[in-house]
Each structure stands twice: as structure tokens, then as C-alpha cells.
């Protein structure tokens, strides 16, 4: 992976814009955050956090594609898929400082902007507006996770499939089918059949 400095700066600028969606940080306020951000690079199919390790970081995907899964009785249940601009880590392990039950693994070569647990604590102490940013981001996370949970319980397999394809067309191209099927809690065979159905037709919600 040969990435130029300009590429990193562009990705950092995107992170700034993304955070501004929550709290209007000026460029100089954002500068205060930069010393806390670590750049971490991984090849494809690399485990970033193993089952049993304590998660040290919260990660923002600068570029690449990552999944989180739960190993259950010889199976891997995909619980999150994250691409550019998304946040991914083993939350329970990170916050409770306990061994992770889930695994975070790259699908494509990936670059993270990562903040360690200690750095994050320092940021909350030192940077004005950080509490608000944290609260609003976590609130957003809660709402998204609740919506996903509700949809899993409430909607049919077909509805879940169609909604995901409509809202995440680029993920359908990039993510291996078995991971998508697992994430949507759809049998791989059913997933193929549904995908076949939508081929050649425009998908309407």
C-alpha cells in the first residue's frame, strides 16, 4: 500500500467534516484532536482484534472494509460491516476493559484512524465540546443499532434484503456474499436466490 501524504490529509479532512456533522468544530479545534489520532494500516483478511484480547482502540475507517463477527459453535456471525467513514471496534471489551468475545477482521486492505482508550479519556478532559461530540455520536449509534435490531425482528427476510440493497448498493458489490448473508441473518442459499431476483430489475423499496 503506497499512500501519499495527500491521501492521508484528505482522509483526515473527511473525518473533520464527519465530526462537524455532530458538533461544529473549527479547523483549529480539530487540530487539538490530531495528536491523539494514530494511523494504523492493515492488509486484507487480518484480525485487528482477536477473541480474548482486550480492545484498546476505537477505530474510524479512513479507507478499506472491515467486519466484526462473533464466533459461535464453529460459526461466525457477522454483526457489523464498516467502510469509509464508519466507526468499528469491540465496544464491550473497550469500555469494560474485558476480553473481547468478538473478532474485528479486515476484508480489504484498511487504514484506521484510531484513538486509544487513554487518549480518549484525555480528550474528554482537555478538549472543549468533546463531551457533546461523544454524547451525540453515541446517541446516533444507539438509534442505528436499535433500528437494525427492530428491523431484524420485525421485517421479513425479503424486506431486509431489499432494504439493505437499496440503502447500501456499494456494500453489495464489495462484501463477500456469505458475510452479507450472515449480517442480514439470511441463509446463504436464500441470499443468492434473492440476489438473482433483483438482477436486471431496478430495486424499489
Amino acid at each position: 500500500m503506497a499512500n501519499s501524504a495527500a491521501t492521508y490529509l484528505a482522509a483526515l479532512e473527511k473525518l473533520h467534516q464527519y465530526l462537524q456533522g455532530y458538533v461544529p468544530f473549527t479547523r483549529s479545534e480539530f487540530r487539538l484532536m490530531e495528536p491523539f489520532i494514530e494511523i494504523r494500516e492493515f492488509d486484507k483478511r487480518v484480525r485487528v482484534i482477536h477473541e480474548g484480547n482486550v480492545e484498546r482502540y476505537v477505530n474510524f475507517v479512513a479507507w478499506g472494509l472491515v467486519r466484526k463477527y462473533l464466533p459461535v459453535r464453529n460459526k461466525e456471525i457477522t454483526i457489523q460491516l464498516a467502510s469509509e467513514g464508519h466507526m468499528i471496534h469491540s465496544e464491550l471489551s473497550f469500555h469494560y476493559r474485558v476480553p473481547s468475545r468478538s473478532v474485528v477482521e479486515t476484508i480489504e486492505p484498511t487504514v484506521f484512524f484510531s484513538i486509544s482508550y487513554d487518549s480518549l479519556e484525555q480528550m474528554y478532559e482537555q478538549i472543549p465540546g468533546m463531551e457533546r461530540l461523544g454524547r451525540l455520536m453515541i446517541t446516533d449509534l444507539f438509534i442505528k443499532s436499535d433500528t437494525r435490531y427492530f428491523n431484524q425482528l420485525r421485517k421479513s427476510t425479503r424486506e431486509r434484503f431489499l432494504e439493505y440493497v437499496r440503502t447500501h448498493p456499494q456494500m453489495v458489490q464489495r462484501v463477500p456474499q456469505k458475510y452479507l448473508a450472515s449480517f442480514l441473518n439470511i441463509k446463504p442459499e436464500t441470499f443468492s436466490r434473492l440476489k438473482h431476483l433483483t438482477r436486471g430489475k431496478s430495486v424499489k423499496g
Binding site: Y124, R132, I138, T139, F142, I143, T147, R154
Partner: protein
Amino acid sequence: MLEMLREYISGYVALTREEFAVLADKLVVRELGRRQLLVRVGEVEEYLSFVVKGLARLYFHKGKTEMIINIAKEGELIASSSSFLSGRPSNYYVETLEPCTLLSISRAHLEQVYKESPKIEKLGRLMTTYFVLQKEEWELECMRLDTRERFLRFIGNNPELLPRVPQKYLASYLNMKPETFSRLKNHIKKRPVTGRP
């Protein structure tokens, strides 16, 4: 009543008497009878409530079955949380199971309190983080544990709910058939549960 809330909050942050007063000033006490709906599907949840006394549940209908996703008792929070946080219509009903005394704060008031006190904003951040983690933990357990393990874990952690909540509701919450629940319950009557699985 306020003492209970103060105790709950101290698990997250240490508020001074003045900071707590800023919050307490915005609270309303709500007394509700048994089986009252606080929020219906499609309505916007206006309050975040702390249960001082009673029991309440959060649920929705899937076809003809009621799916219960939360049961809150004394010392816990109840709300259609996503709706409260987003201001969008609720996907769930909130209903009391027993007569309830709630200490509630409205969304507008909570926003105001966050602006007035950075410490309370921190409380908001930590509580919301806890909600996310609790939810994540519950979902992971549903994937990881089998029916029997889920039953034992729940009963081990919430023994007081067993006599208070109708069995079919607990079964729904644990996502198992009522028959399965009752079989597991009879099973532990013979061999009491000790510790967690």
C-alpha cells in the same frame, strides 16, 4: 424518591448538590395505574423516566404476538429510547405492568440541562454509552447462548422478576416459547440455581 435517583447517578458521575439541583428542578413525578400505555407506536416519546416504584415494559406487535424487548423495575430507566433520543415516532409501546411512580424529564428540558451543566452532559454521554453496551451484550447473548443458558442467566440476574411478571412476558423477553419457559422453570424448582452459567 430523589435519593434513589441520586444514588443511580452516582454510579456514573459525582454531581455536586448544586448540579443535582439543576437536574432535579426539571423532573416531574408521574403516577400511573397498572396497564397504562405511556407511549404508543407512532407517537414520539417525550420523556426519559426513572422507575421509583413499579414495573414497565417496552414491546411491539409482530403479527399477533407481542415481542417484549425490555422490562424495567425500580432503579432502572424506561423510555422508548430511540424515539426519545431522535425525536422520531416510536416503534414500540411503553406500558406499565404494575402501578408506577416515575421521575421523568422531557427531551427539551434535558437538552437545556446539558447546556447548563457539562457534568450532566457527561452523565448523558456515559448513560447513553451504557445503553449501547447493554443492548450489544443482550444481542450477543441471544446469539451466543442457547435457550437454557439464556433462561438461567436471566433468572440468576433478576430473581425478583419471576413472581412479578407474567410468565408469558418473560418468555417473550427471552425469545422462547411459553412452554419452554415453564419447563425450564419447573426444572430449576427441583435444583435451585447457584451463580451464573
